[in-house]
Amino acid sequence: MSLLSVRGLKVAYGGIEAVRGIDLDVEAGELVALIGANGAGKTTTLKALAGMLRPAAGTVRYADSDITGVASHRLIRQGVALVPEGRGVFARLTVQENLQMGAYIRDDRPAIAQDLDKVFGLFPRLHERRAQVAGTLSGGEQQMLAIGRAMMSRPKLLLLDEPSMGLAPLMVQKIFEVVHSIAAQGVTILLVEQNALLALEAASRGYVMESGAITLSDSAPALLASPQVRQAYLGE
């Protein structure tokens, strides 16, 4: 039984369908990549899964219950966390307050303090800057903060929307190391990326999305080897 199981999902902005009936499964403990060109509908899909957008049709099942149309502030309590595209850190809150908001749904103070130390251990830069407002951080530091903040909720399913966007290569590498270590802790991850090579190297399986539909789905090595993917997304 999949942890996340999506059937016939359609999402529309006004009259315009951005996601046109997709099926998608993520098993517990898996790292699955969702790749596709700009405008394919990846962000829209993640927003619908996280409860930020209400689907126009289809069903979303998570951990054996129907979560179609459930609002984001309820889904997070069931363990679904989204690191949004563009990071979405609270620029006027301090780094520490951002992380506190990540743990908003929890009230086990000692465990929260432990998790805070864990995030600071993973990202020493954030510890140095914990009293600074997040707006003063670099893009890479903000991405670390966004991921750290999501981890503060102790998610079971982590949805990552283009964590490498706009970052220098060294920082991209660091972010992917972190994604690997989160996956190694047993957190299930659905990773959206435009950097198809990195995403498929990290993932065990992948989906390819084009204009609102899923056109390919296979194991990551098979996708990496497929001429279609190599031509369209790996620049060959």
Binding site: G51, I76, P84, L93, Y104
Partner: protein, 328 residues
């Protein structure tokens, strides 16, 4: 008598009330980008409820302090209920409507509340029962009353309390997060509807206190008293930088002092007898009356709006506002 010091004291008293009311405007603006023009009416309702409770209990066996406290403790929940209800019923359904719609709705609610108050509490000014002793103290040639001291001290306490709430509690951090990005706040598990309700409730509670204070200070309450007071407090919020808490406090205090000093000196400054040399007719009049004042202290209410215009021209984001934010 030292007019300058006296007007500073009066200005700080009134400024405290403006600041407390301005906080209600600025908190709501910060979180939903709405100018809640009905906030002045919440203040009026606070004054009316307290007046009604205090008049009903006055003359009974209870000590005066207890009666006044009872008035306050009734005014606060009534105003909170009014604030909560107006958001829930009128503003929430319009949250994704063009911003003109909630703005016009706010003006409509303000008119409705005024008229309901008129029906309930009469169209005449009502005397606010002065049941507490109000000794007057002298300092350096000026006077300050116990009521003035109480207003200033209580206001400072409320401002301190609100600052602690917003910067030191989980609810406060959630309020600031929601004000910055409601969608991402939702991802954190914050129920933004609840946070918005809380913002209206807290603002209305402060408004209730302001109503009791201003009613006690002026010794009367009237169903239209919230309109001008609300407008001035709104000016104070804009002066400080709307959406900014410290700005509302600073703006309120400054506005109160500017208004008091302006009122205190406008007669003297616009006294044409300073320049009686320019015409013989004027010199004759001045010899007779001693003064020929163009603008008297009845111009008290223009200062807030002069300040508003100056701010909008020279510093549209206000004294402490970082930027002119716009709803996306």
């Amino acid at each position: 008598m030292d007019i300058f010091l006296q007007q500073i004291i009066n200005g700080l008293t009134l400024g405290s009330v403006y600041a407390i009311v301005a906080l209600g405007y600025t908190m709501v603006y910060g979180i939903v980008q709405l100018i809640n023009f009905a906030h002045g009416e919440v203040v009026m309702i606070g004054a009316m409820v307290a007046l009604w409770v205090i008049s009903s209990l006055a003359g009974g066996a209870m000590p005066p302090v207890v009666i006044v406290l009872a008035g306050i403790l009734c005014a606060i929940p009534v105003c909170m209920a009014v604030g909560y209800t107006m958001e829930r019923v009128a503003y929430r359904p319009l949250r994704s409507a063009p911003r003109l719609a909630p703005l016009i709705t706010a003006i409509g609610i303000s008119i409705i509340l005024q008229h309901v108050a008129m029906l309930v509490w009469s169209r005449n000014p009502l005397p606010f029962p002065q049941i507490l002793a109000n000794p007057i103290f002298e300092i350096a040639g000026a006077t300050i009353s116990a009521v003035q001291i109480a207003i200033i001290v209580l206001s400072l306490l409320m401002m301190g309390g609100l600052t602690l709430l917003v910067y030191r509690t989980k609810l406060g951090v959630a309020m600031r997060a929601t004000s910055e990005n409601p969608q991402v706040a939702g991802l954190m598990g914050i129920d933004i509807n609840r946070v918005i309700s809380m913002t209206f409730i807290i603002g209305a509670g402060l408004g209730a206190m302001a109503g009791v204070m201003v009613g006690t200070y002026y010794g009367q309450a009237h169903y239209t008293m919230g309109a001008l007071l609300g407008l001035k407090a709104f000016c104070a919020a804009v002066l400080g930088g709307i959406g900014n808490l410290a700005g509302a406090m600073l703006g309120g205090m400054l506005l109160g002092v500017v208004e008091a000093l302006g009122t205190g000196y406008i007669g003297e400054i616009t006294d044409l007898c300073h320049v009686s040399g320019i015409s013989t007719a004027l010199a004759e009049r001045c010899a007779e009356d001693g003064h020929m004042v163009v603008f008297g202290s009845n111009y008290q209410d223009v200062f807030a709006f002069i300040v508003l215009i100056l701010v909008l021209v020279f510093r549209p984001s206000g004294l402490l506002g970082e930027r002119v934010s716009d709803r996306a």
